[in-house]
Symmetry: C2
Subunit: 305 residues, 2 copies
């Protein structure tokens, strides 16, 4: 089976390329540096990694590759954004290949919106995961669904009949990572787990009207009081942060059905536990599968079946 | 004039020793490493720095020096805590001196309480600043006053007739520092200033019901939209964080008069600006002056005039 196109997920911290058959089956993979590390050398890095594949294969790339610090800037597609509009807003150009020809490149645009707080908001890469989720579970392309894409900058997105209406970014993943690594709060703790009693205690504490800023230090103080074992401190901190994130998102979006979680399984378990406390179920999709399905869908839209 | 005692402020990141006259006038100073760096060598570090002063001078030390990672652990004094109770709970011992004798050491205890959120909370060092503030402005020792001690772990404390009733820790300073240094949010920005329009915009945004987690990313997205100049991004971030902190603290403590700010002048200016938006005035005291005044007061209590 010969590859029909190259699909690429090029985020801040890593690049993953997939040589795909026309049906989207992955035939080969390659990995490279993220955009933050690539600096101005994105074209060279891509050319070197893609050199093994036919020069006439088109490439679709999503993520920070289209930002101001990426390869070329693909302007944001404004919400409400339908799948066709996202595909049409792709930035297309030819990249020179070693045989003197050029390779068709399409950089998928990010989305912009006025979020539920009335503020300007953006995403890059998650729009492709949303498109992939609609392809992996076609029933999600009908009706109103709330998606949550946990991560460094978690995105909550309202999708109606397949159109991204608006979304909101929560800094949960970055906050948890920074506080875990640099603060005294969870020093010496193991990984966060929803199976720890401390996770539930953190979620319960997050519902306090004091707000997250005035609650975070309890991760430390409740170890001193003996209420939280040191080895579960990261679970308590995670419970506080994810608890605050989910409660606020539910206030902002008021979903009337399951929340669609698109991420890695370990992260999904934390969010599913918190949603359960709010008597909401989760519809879980793997984040890696979603981004690939999105790129396959966009290939069909942009380069035909 | 001969020194009458040694006053020491020994926190996580630095040690400052003052040779004081009986009236509290500072006659000499010395600096050393913080407790985090001192490891198990606190006794030696202190002995080396204090060797120049008479072996018969007592020393009073406050801050993380009394924590589990300090020189010796001084158990927390529970709230409500009156000045005399704090003094009496000091941990006293003899430290060997080079002449074969021993120096009187008093480590001031931190305070513990059940905070306004119903959670266990602690402070170490700020209790001495509070005692100093009551000495520098004796009128604060009567009636009900809300104190705010901004910093890495900001403390809001309710003091009634000189007694610390309860307090609450907000992680504002640490959060701002971590996000400024490690995140993309305020990359390339200058220092935070209440004079920047972006500071006011951040405070205004912080009042959104979405909550801080869902608002922090607007520091980045509103630069992309052109609403916030990159060089004022730290001011916007500061406005968001201090705005959220102050609003929550005012809900928790409902002060009916000026808030007493105990900190460095630059930090006081940020808090004073936010309090002004809430139609509250600030009563500002310098944090360094307050800790010294607290140690002078405690010297009188523990070692006589």
């Amino acid at each position: 089976v010969k590859a029909a196109f190259i699909a690429g997920d090029w985020g801040t911290s890593r690049l993953r390329l997939f040589g795909c058959g026309g049906d989207g089956v992955v035939l080969a993979k390659a990995e490279g540096p993220g955009i933050a590390e690539a600096g101005g050398r994105a074209a060279e890095i891509f050319a070197a990694l893609a050199a093994d594949w036919d020069a006439n294969l088109p490439a679709l790339l999503c993520g920070m590759v289209g930002s101001t610090i990426g390869w070329r800037e693909a302007p944001y597609c404004p919400c409400p954004a339908a799948p066709d509009a996202i595909a049409q807003a792709a930035l297309r150009f030819d990249a020179p290949t070693s045989d003197g020809g050029g390779r068709d490149i399409a950089i998928i645009p990010g989305l912009s919106c006025t979020n539920a707080s009335g503020l300007f908001d953006v995403m890059r890469g998650e729009e492709t995961q949303l498109l992939g989720a609609l392809r992996l579970k076609p029933e999600l392309a009908h009706g109103r669904h709330l998606f949550c894409l946990p991560g460094t900058h978690a995105k909550w997105a309202l999708v109606e009949d397949g159109v991204v209406i608006r979304f909101q970014t929560a800094l949960s993943g970055e906050l948890f990572a920074l506080l875990s690594q640099h603060s005294v709060l969870a020093r010496g703790a193991g990984a966060a787990s929803p199976a720890h009693a401390a996770f539930g205690a953190g979620v319960a504490a997050s519902r306090n009207e004091a707000g997250l800023l005035h609650l975070l230090f309890s991760t430390r103080s409740r170890q001193l009081s003996g209420e939280i074992p040191q080895e579960e401190a990261a679970s308590y901190l995670s419970g506080l942060i994810v608890g605050a994130e989910v409660a606020a998102a539910l206030r902002l979006f008021a979903p009337d059905g399951p929340v669609v979680l698109v991420c890695a399984p370990a992260l999904a378990a934390l969010y599913e536990a918190v949603l359960g406390i709010h008597k909401l179920s989760a519809n879980v999709l793997d984040g890696d599968a979603a981004v690939l399905a999105g790129l396959v869908f966009l290939h069909t839209k942009l380069f035909g079946p």
